[in-house]
């Protein structure tokens, strides 16, 4: 029995490298304890490789595996689901490495590594992740290659793997374009696909918006037909918060209809909104969107989607900022917009009562409140001092510094105390144009809160109390209003021009990626195929098309490979023909057999042919292995003699 061949050091090295490269990107979402354990075990395996020691005993490995499962169970409180599953796989991959000493184990490690690369996409599908997965795949292919054949320098091995991956590219494109698509998050699992999203929510407490503002993530993109509105008009309206319990503002559940309750009028802005998933139903729109198919409109004029937005959506919208809304608002809504919990914020309520007495008409009250806010010099800051029990009182009379939600809340409470119906509106304010691709980008750091008041005969009107204290917030964005604050996300800071350029470029690429790769849904697939002349395609046509295209690609690659394998020149072709003819009469050449030996052996079997055979073999040997022959007739004669050779 032949002993089982052990892995060479270079093979083990590649396995370790591909496991490390496949696991490293998972460090962003796996629990730190598990990452630590994996790192230590990997380090141990490297030491074992270097010292050439024996691998740990099976009992130890078994104990390690058990403790790993226990660790995952403790960290996640469960063993099933996406995240514990990936964590378990990561740990088992490392433990498998610790018992890998032959080719069979190595193949398991390679399979697991490929799985870990795929697992990356369960978390994120950005281009960066794709690049990491590609790097991991190349190293894994290199490890697979190292299992076959001789040891090669790592650089050559890596290049060979990259070439292989490159050869797979046409097939990948065919699969990408033609594989039948399903609607929905391809990579999401139901249990925990929709967790961890930064963004607006359906309630607001002091400090909430400030927290959102620390994220530079993109909330949505818009592409305007024509010029975008001026900065002061860029209010992207989101959740409307009317209910107030003294501290937290909440949405009121109102009726939802298929058409808006207002009549659009005035200037129109046409744009396409590409909204990142935020797991809520609301969409964001400039005031106020006209009727469009497939959209829903709530009684407080929010624009809603049919279902929560779990994947990136594209919506075509037209907004008319001049539209008047809520002219004949119901009493219930107005009552709600005047309600203040008794005993909360007494000083603000007193302020409201006083301002009401000063005003001649209720229409003057908002201006008086703004003037008061300006007079007491409220400061706009991302880091307000902690507030007391009555938030609005503390803000207006003690700390006097706050973020937009403080301003909006204080304004609405004061107006309600003065008898004017008012409510808080959250959404995004501002956004900027990406100089590279011209799209309009709005980030989480553009999150904002403002107020709407209701006046008889005018309906609901937008007033932004923050603008009174920090007008630059509206004109030049958060970074302009809060210069020199390093708690702002790096990408939003405006004082680093090169960073802006870099960011603009990256996000333009990212936008393309989103539109063309991640956004390649059934509709786009259909559109692309009809552009190719395949108007009506169901999944059977697609499958047939896929199989045909796949076969075509594989055929082209195979033909190319075969062409490269075929004899390089005429001498070899002639000799191969000679050998084939002898094989046909039952004397095949052994692969290792030299020409003269072959001719001698064949001649001993067929003495009648011997002189021919010897002459041909000697000529071939001379042409093939002799000095470069300047005589072209020799080759010609050889060719003729092969053609004339017809043994029977």
């Amino acid at each position: 029995m032949t002993p089982k061949p052990h892995l060479r050091p270079d093979q083990t090295g590649w396995l370790l490298a591909c496991a490390a490269l496949s696991l490293a990107p998972h460090a962003t979402h796996l629990p730190p304890s598990l990452i630590g354990v994996c790192g230590l075990l990997l380090g141990w395996r490297i030491v074992l490789l270097r010292q050439g020691d024996r691998l740990p005993h099976r009992v130890l490995l078994f104990a390690l595996a058990l403790s790993l499962v226990a660790l995952v169970a403790i960290e996640f409180q469960r063993l099933f689901g996406k995240e514990p599953g990936i964590a378990l796989l990561a740990g088992l991959l490392i433990i498998k490495l610790l018992e890998t000493h032959d080719v069979r184990d190595a193949r398991t490690v390679i399979l697991l590594s490929f799985f870990m690369e795929m697992g990356l996409f369960l978390y994120q599908q950005t281009m960066g992740v794709a690049a990491l997965a590609l790097a991991g795949s190349v190293s894994t292919v290199a490890a697979l290659l190292s299992l076959e054949g001789r040891a090669e320098p790592p650089r050559a091995r890596g290049m060979a793997a990259a070439r292989l991956v490159l050869q797979g590219l046409p097939l990948m494109l065919v699969l990408f374009v033609l594989f039948p698509r399903i609607q929905g998050p391809l990579w999401g699992l139901p249990a925990d696909a929709y967790t961890h999203r930064t963004g607006l929510s359906d309630s607001m407490s002091p400090g909430d918006v400030a927290r959102i503002s620390e994220s530079g993530a993109i909330a949505f993109r818009a592409r305007f037909e024509g010029d975008p509105p001026p900065p002061a008009e860029r209010y992207w309206r989101g959740p409307v918060l009317s209910e107030f319990d003294g501290r937290t503002w909440r949405q009121t559940r109102g009726s939802v209809t298929d058409a808006p309750s207002y009549r659009s009028q005035g200037t129109a802005y046409t744009y396409t909104l590409t909204l990142e998933p935020h797991n809520h139903r609301w969409l964001l729109a400039l005031d106020f969107p006209a009727a469009a198919p497939g959209l829903r409109y709530s009684s407080d004029f929010q624009l809603l989607a049919q279902a929560p937005v779990h994947t990136r959506v594209r919506v075509d919208l037209v907004s008319h900022p001049g539209t008047q809304v809520g002219l004949d608002e119901s009493d219930a809504v107005l009552r709600q917009a005047l309600y203040l919990p008794p005993e909360s914020n007494p000083r603000t309520r007193a302020l409201g009562t006083r301002l009401r007495a000063e005003a001649r008409t209720s229409g003057e009250i908002p201006a008086l409140v703004i003037a008061h806010f300006q007079a007491i010099k409220l400061a706009y800051t991302l880091d307000p001092l902690p507030l007391g029990r009555d938030d609005v009182d503390s803000f207006l009379f003690e700390t006097r510094q706050g973020f937009c939600e403080h301003f909006a809340a204080a304004f609405v409470v004061t107006l309600r105390a003065a008898g004017v119906p008012a409510r808080v509106v959250t959404g995004y304010q501002g956004g900027e144009i990406n100089a590279v691709d011209g799209s309009f980008v709005v980030r989480q750091s553009d999150a904002h809160a403002w107020a709407e008041i209701w006046l008889a005969g005018k309906g609901w009107q937008r007033i932004d109390p923050t603008a009174a204290s920090a007008p630059r917030r509206i004109d030049s964005g958060l970074a302009g209003a809060l210069p020199g604050i390093d708690r702002l996300p790096l990408l939003v800071r405006s004082d680093l021009p090169w960073l802006r350029t870099l960011r603009d470029n990256l996000e333009a690429i990212d936008n393309r990626w989103n539109q063309w790769v991640l956004g390649y849904n059934p509709a786009r697939q259909q559109a692309l195929l009809s552009a190719l002349g395949l108007a009506r395609t169901d999944w059977t046509t697609l499958t047939a098309l896929l199989a045909a295209a796949g076969a075509a690609v594989a055929g082209v690659l195979a033909a190319w490979a075969l062409r490269r394998r075929s004899p390089a020149d005429g001498i070899d072709r002639d000799w191969a023909r000679f050998c084939q003819q002898l094989a046909a009469i039952g004397i095949p050449r052994a692969p290792w057999e030299g020409p003269l030996d072959y001719a001698r052996r064949a001649g001993s079997r067929r003495p009648d042919l011997a002189p021919h055979l010897d002459a041909i073999a000697a000529t071939y040997a001379n042409l093939r292995y002799g000095r470069a022959n300047a005589d072209p007739t020799a080759r010609q004669r050889f060719h003729q003699s092969i053609k004339a050779f017809r043994p029977r």
């Binding site: 290792w592 000697a618 292995y625 002799g626």
Partner: protein
């Protein structure tokens, strides 16, 4: 200027006796008269010397190792020196010694038996490793150093070492690194019945040798050596040799593969074999013919059962297709 017998044989032999091929044929014929029925081994030994390599003969006592060495030296016209290795031998017994000369009042170097054109190192594995390595270093460097001075050995310097099987009592087997310095290792084996009969019936080999005239005239050995070096090796053949080397390293059949030095040795021996075969270029058959002798002592099989060297190299050959 050398002429070669290209196929088809279309040259007119004007001075055929002077062609390197014919000189070689004469040599083989003459040696075969002395060593009966061992033409292949004789040919290998001659190829080894033409490739300027040292030869190790390993066999049972009494099969004609010493006689072959004698015959080769005689036929090639080389100054011959035999060193019988014993367990009490010292390096100075081989290399030479400096003696105080009372007339000059200085030390004078007395060259040892190694200063000769052909050395027969008989039963090399009877000597201690120290004495063995004195000779082996001289083989590698083609010069010796004594008392701070360097003495070059003759331009033609060949060592034919004989070795009894190492399982005999009182032997020091040569370490692997030193085995590598021998271009070839061959064994003669018992003669076939007909040859043995002729040997038993014939006259004493030593006397025959003494009567046999040297085959090579002055300068003809140099011609042969130069011709060997000029044998053509094409790119395809280099591909083949590289494939053999690579296979020996990665097949898993051998604990250590063939070194680059072994590759050079293989090519040199194959050149000499091609010359003996009357060709001006090396064929895969030449490489295959010399491979057992060149690689047999450099490969160590993996596993418990030591396979005979011929079987090892046969497996290697059959695993590598011609490129």
């Amino acid at each position: 200027m050398l002429l070669w017998n290209h196929y088809p044989l279309n040259f007119t032999p004007k001075k055929a006796r002077d062609m390197p091929t014919h000189i070689a044929t004469r040599l083989i014929d003459a040696a075969s008269q002395i060593i009966l029925g061992k033409e292949h081994a004789v040919r290998l030994a001659l190829a080894c010397l033409l490739a300027r390599g040292h030869l190790l003969m390993e066999d049972m006592p009494g099969v004609g190792k010493t006689t072959l060495a004698h015959a080769l030296a005689h036929l090639l016209g080389l100054r011959f020196q035999r060193i019988q290795f014993t367990s009490d031998m010292l390096p100075a017994d081989i290399l030479g010694v400096s003696v105080f000369d009372q007339r000059d009042g200085s030390f004078r170097f007395h060259p040892g038996p190694v200063f000769s054109e052909m050395i027969l190192a008989d039963e090399i594995n009877r000597a201690t490793p120290k004495a063995q390595s004195a000779l082996l270093e001289a083989m590698e460097e083609r010069q010796i150093s004594a008392e701070g001075r360097t003495y070059p050995l003759p331009a033609s310097f060949f060592v034919i070492a004989t070795q009894n099987p190492t399982d005999q009592i009182g032997t020091f087997p040569l370490p692997e690194s030193q085995l590598d310095r021998f271009l070839m290792r061959i064994s003669l084996g018992y003669p076939d019945p007909a040859s043995e009969r002729a040997l038993l019936a014939g006259e004493d080999r030593r006397n025959m040798l003494a009567r046999l005239p040297p085959v090579l005239a002055a300068g003809e050995l140099d011609t042969l050596l130069a011709a060997t070096r000029q044998i053509h090796v094409g790119p395809r053949l280099l591909d083949y040799v590289q494939a053999l080397l690579a296979r020996s390293r990665e097949s898993g059949d051998f604990s250590s593969g063939l070194s680059p030095r072994a590759g050079l040795a293989l090519l040199a021996a194959a050149r000499a074999w091609a010359l003996l075969g009357g060709r001006d270029h090396v064929l895969p058959e030449d490489v295959q013919a010399v491979l057992p002798a060149v690689a047999g002592h450099r490969l160590r099989p993996v596993g418990e059962l030591p396979l005979p060297p011929d079987e090892l190299t046969r497996r290697l050959l059959m695993a590598v297709p011609l490129p």
